[in-house]
């Protein structure tokens, strides 16, 4: 065992994109290795939960936790890593606000299991469903239980820092790694607990180079099937672009490339509920006064819950759709 500070990274309900983003820092990953002893990182190295359980409390200096809390295993590891870590970072959109896995909160957990094991795309003639525990001669074997809804990391444990993004941009990760190393060398101080790190304090619109004028929207359209002016604000052109409510930090990558912002950096500074802010912003710029005409324009957003909460449902005020919590 070296004397270097210890580093851990864990994935709960996530896609693995966050680890790829970390590896995308290229040679910066060598700085991590030079300055840290990587003790636990299931994607990159072999380590067992019991190894973590055997560590002293607070012995891991920095843990990057990505993924939402979908199963009791996720929750157990979140609590375990909280106990063992000095600094716990909610890393990436899933851990911060639920992200796409959080959209499952629109459905009842039974429905989700049912869809996975019993739809036309699944060949399951005997209606076999997984059992969470099973007795075999050697003892009882278990698989994790799915929780009724997906939760964000800070709905389960205390979180020190929040690093948004789906995934966090590699240059932002590199900057955070640099900062932590500087702190280790006594050249910098950590930001106050609870800060959002590796992102800006403004909105995507602030970083977007497209020209902005007064918006008067007479129809919402999807981005295909029409001519898009490459220099003009997408929302002004009737494309539901979420940049107005989304935290800056990505250099407005999507609008720069010609696609609308879908909101992966989460709510901008001061936004309590991401979806509510977007409802407010989109409705404000509609150019109509009659209810029927407003309805016609709003038909251009066929799935408002998905549009406004693609990344944010689990972290929003309402946290889940009604069917997810309603007792049958």
């Amino acid at each position: 065992m070296s004397d270097k500070p210890k580093f851990a990274m864990y994935w709960a309900a996530s896609c693995g994109g966050c680890e790829i983003a970390v590896l995308n820092t290229n040679e910066k990953i060598l700085d991590v290795d030079a300055n840290f002893d990587v003790v636990f990182w299931p994607v990159a190295m072999d380590a067992k939960y019991k190894d973590v359980e055997a560590m002293q409390d607070g012995s891991i200096l920095l843990t990057l936790f990505n993924g939402g809390i979908r199963t009791d295993e996720n929750e157990h590891i979140a609590k375990l890593l909280r106990q063992k870590s000095k600094i716990l970072v909610a890393f990436g959109s899933c851990a911060n606000e639920g992200c796409v896995p959080g959209l499952a909160n629109l459905s009842d957990a039974r429905e989700i299991v049912h869809t996975a094991f019993n739809t036309v795309s699944t060949d399951n003639p005997k209606q076999v469903y997984p059992m969470t525990s099973y007795d075999v001669p050697e003892g009882e074997i278990c698989i994790p239980k799915i929780l009724p809804t997906l939760k964000t990391l800070d709905q389960v444990v205390d979180v020190d820092y929040y690093m948004p993004g789906c995934p966090p941009e590699s240059h932002q990760i590199a900057a955070v790694i640099d900062l932590v190393i500087q702190v280790l060398q006594g050249k910098a101080e950590l930001p106050p607990k609870g800060s959002v790190i590796g992102a800006g304090n403004s909105t995507v619109c602030d970083e977007c180079q497209r020209a902005r004028n007064v918006k008067t929207i007479t129809s919402f359209n999807r981005i295909f099937g029409q001519e898009i002016d490459p220099d003009l604000c997408l929302l002004e052109q009737g494309i539901p672009c979420n940049g107005v409510a989304t935290r800056s930090g990505c250099n407005a990558r999507c609008p720069t490339a010609g696609a609308q912002c879908i909101g992966c950096y989460g709510p901008a500074e001061g936004v309590v509920d991401y979806g509510a802010r977007l409802v407010s912003a989109f409705a404000s710029v509609i150019d109509a006064k009659e209810p029927d005409e407003i309805d016609r324009i709003l038909d251009g957003i066929p799935d408002p819950a998905g549009q406004f909460y693609r990344f944010n449902l689990a972290g929003s005020l309402l946290r889940a759709g009604k069917s997810a919590w309603e007792k049958a």
Partner: protein
């Protein structure tokens, strides 16, 4: 004693019309149910949908938003903005599984105390008919039924 459901309703009123309508209903001693808790805003255009989401997430069974009649806004046309926000907000809430009748927008001028009281009466009865909402997230305890087959459920592929 049997439990009787009394709806908890949050009402947002505009300073210039509907709040005065409520005031007029009071001075005229018109009775309306005490289920509604009024919050005065300067204008219905001040209504951030966050307020409504927070009310519903915190235990309200219904939310009523009131403003000046179209064309009569003290700030010219912010009540149209309120109308557009209301329509988009309701669509979003329906997408989250809420009954559309739990949120309502009405117009009431400062002279319409009686109308204001009667609209509150109607809304309270509508919410009473819909029953309690109690928006919440499930307990951490996993329901034992989560992993069992649901043969009666149709799920589109």
């Amino acid at each position: 004693m049997t439990y009787k459901f009394e709806p908890t309703i949050i009402g947002f009123t505009c300073n210039w019309c509907s709040y005065r309508a409520a005031d007029l209903a009071g001075t005229a001693r018109i009775k309306y149910p005490p289920n509604v808790r009024l919050v005065r805003l300067m204008c219905s255009g001040r209504l951030d949908p966050t307020f409504v989401f927070k009310a519903l997430a915190s235990g309200a069974d219904g939310v009523i938003i009131t403003g000046c009649h179209p064309g009569e806004c003290h700030y010219l046309e912010q009540n149209y903005k309120a109308l557009r926000r209301f329509q988009l907000m309701r669509r979003t809430l329906v997408g989250l599984g809420l009954e559309p009748g739990r949120v309502k927008l009405i117009w009431a001028s400062a002279a319409e105390g009686a109308r204001f009281a009667s609209e509150i009466n109607i809304f309270v009865e509508e919410i009473r008919a819909l029953g309690p909402l109690h928006w919440g997230v499930p307990d951490d305890e996993e329901p034992s039924t989560v992993h069992s087959p649901l043969s009666e459920m149709e799920v589109p592929a």
